[in-house]
């Protein structure tokens, strides 16, 4: 197998200690899913802003499929991409819970069939947070995948970097009750070696083929 993010039952059991650590971090970060805000009229309901805990967002492995030079864009949904739509919104804070403008945030993920784009840049894009420290990503819920690059539950890769700050490399995951592609998210989350409750996106109720999601980052601004 090539360099990858291996997930097999054996790998999962072996790294059981890592799983415990993740749970501990999740508890410490206090990132239990918050209550949902009232639905917005013209859109899928947007979950309420979780309050900033000041606890740094946990890092994860970069994996083997990051490509530099992704296009600058906030919308990754091109005609090829027809999965379950995800409008992901959030704010990037420093450890004092101050929103950070001008933070570079680079996303990459697979499509509705579990395909990463290795030749081109489909479902890859970077952006800078606005003056309120906010980012917006219009994308889809990725499918879990199994192939040459290993076997993983659904996740979105991300790199976050404040100007002149260190790079946070991590992955975002989906709640156990996410409905997409007929897949069992609870089972795939449970079997994923890197799954981390502290990095689960908060989703509003599914409306038609669309979710609104929320994830706020807390990052270091100096090394």
């Amino acid at each position: 197998m090539p360099p990858q993010e291996p997930t097999s039952r054996r790998a999962f059991i072996k790294t059981g200690a890592l799983g415990v650590t993740s749970v501990a971090i999740a508890a410490a970060a206090g990132s239990a899913e918050p209550a949902l805000a009232a639905p917005r009229p013209a859109d899928a309901p947007l979950p309420i802003t979780p309050s900033c805990s000041g606890h740094e967002t946990p890092s994860s492995v970069e994996g083997p499929l990051f490509k530099p030079n992704s296009p600058e864009r906030t919308n990754l949904v091109t005609p090829a991409i027809t999965g379950v739509l995800l409008a992901l919104r959030g704010v990037i804070y420093d450890r004092e819970c101050k929103p950070l403008p001008g933070v570079l945030i680079d996303f990459w993920q697979c499509d509705q069939n579990g395909d990463y784009d290795e030749h081109g840049f489909s479902l890859r894009g970077h952006q800078l947070t606005d003056s309120a420290g906010a980012y917006r990503l219009d994308t889809i819920v990725p499918r879990d995948y199994w192939g040459r690059w290993g076997r993983r539950g659904a996740h979105i890769h991300v790199q976050v970097q404040a100007p002149n700050g260190p790079v946070l490399v991590t992955q975002l995951y989906f709640p156990d009750d996410t409905q997409a592609y007929g897949r069992n998210f609870a089972a795939h989350n449970a079997g994923d070696q890197f799954f981390n409750r502290a990095c689960v996106v908060t989703l509003g109720p599914k409306q038609g083929n669309r979710y609104a999601g929320r994830f706020d980052f807390v990052i270091k601004t100096t090394a």
Binding site: M1, P2, P3, R9, E62, G63, P64, L65, F66, K67, P68, N69, P71, E72, R73, T78, P79, A80, I81, T82, D111, Q112, N113, G114, D115, D117, E118, H119, G120, F121, S122, R143, W146, G147, R148, Y181, G182, R183, N184, A187
Partner: protein, 353 residues
Amino acid sequence: MPLKRIGALVTALTLVTVATPSSASTLGRGPWTPTPAPVEKGDITAVAALDGKTAWAVGYRLVSDDEARPIALRWNGKTWAQESELPRDSFPQAIEVRSQSDIWTVGDGVQHWDGKSWSVADFGRDPAGYFLPEGLDSVPSGQAWVVGRLVADSVKDQVPVVYGWDGSAWAKQALPDVGKGELTSVVSLAPNDVWAAGFSATSPQTSLVVHWDGKSWTRVASPSVSGAHTWISALHAGPGGVWAVGGSNAGAADRPFAARWDGRRWQAALTPNIADGRLRAVVSTGDGELWAVGGKGAVTVALRWQKTLNRWVRTAAPDVVVRGVAAVPGSSSLWAVGIAKKGDLVPVITRTR
């Protein structure tokens, strides 16, 4: 097959007037007909044909959420059936059929079928990284080529690589310093005339073409789309020269990319601007028609080369997420394999007739 061919054209034209009267730019959906795939869930990733009654397709079957089995399917002229299981974890991406007892596949590693069983080629361990093969080709004399990449930790560090088979062993080829990138495809016209292509991971990403003249590999200048990431995904020696197809991306959706070696230089060819219409395969049929097929996810694209117009023109595409395409030697027929656009990993095999 002249009668069959006329029949197909008539069907296509009828559909244009009946089903898609407003779409003058395509020939309708007429020519593509699905054949039942003997796999309920999984993926069909590559196909190759010896003749109208003999073809192979490879991919994997999902036996359960915990078990994926790589498989080879065989077409007997009437139906597809599973012929064999490939070695575990081989995840085949491309196939080269030399005879029914001499088949190569590449995916995770390189595998060979001798008519009875599969064996795994030994490439040893390269200190530069894990060898991931992407494309292969052979010449009648038995020489074969596999191209791909060496991945140290990530595709961001990968470098192009070529291995040559002399009939008894694989040997890594000395390439010029082309930096980071990947070779996705190879076509061998003769033992001293081999092309390989892919992309160079510059900013922006550019097309990459290298050539073997029997003595050494050299980089040959190739066109890229200005201000866009460009890549080549397939090569083919066909009417009018050697063809390279792929895609480009300038920040929004992809668009098709094609280039041709006319004997003196590589030149970009005109393609229609189809959103997310990246090209994955270029093949020619026995009647001299040149096809380029591709797409991604919900978008499927098929183009035909119009020599008189000196451009690629859109034609009816199969209703499948295209993984692989093959021409049937001696006929006007094509196979296209992949997965359905609806449902979750439902394999599809379709052909023109």
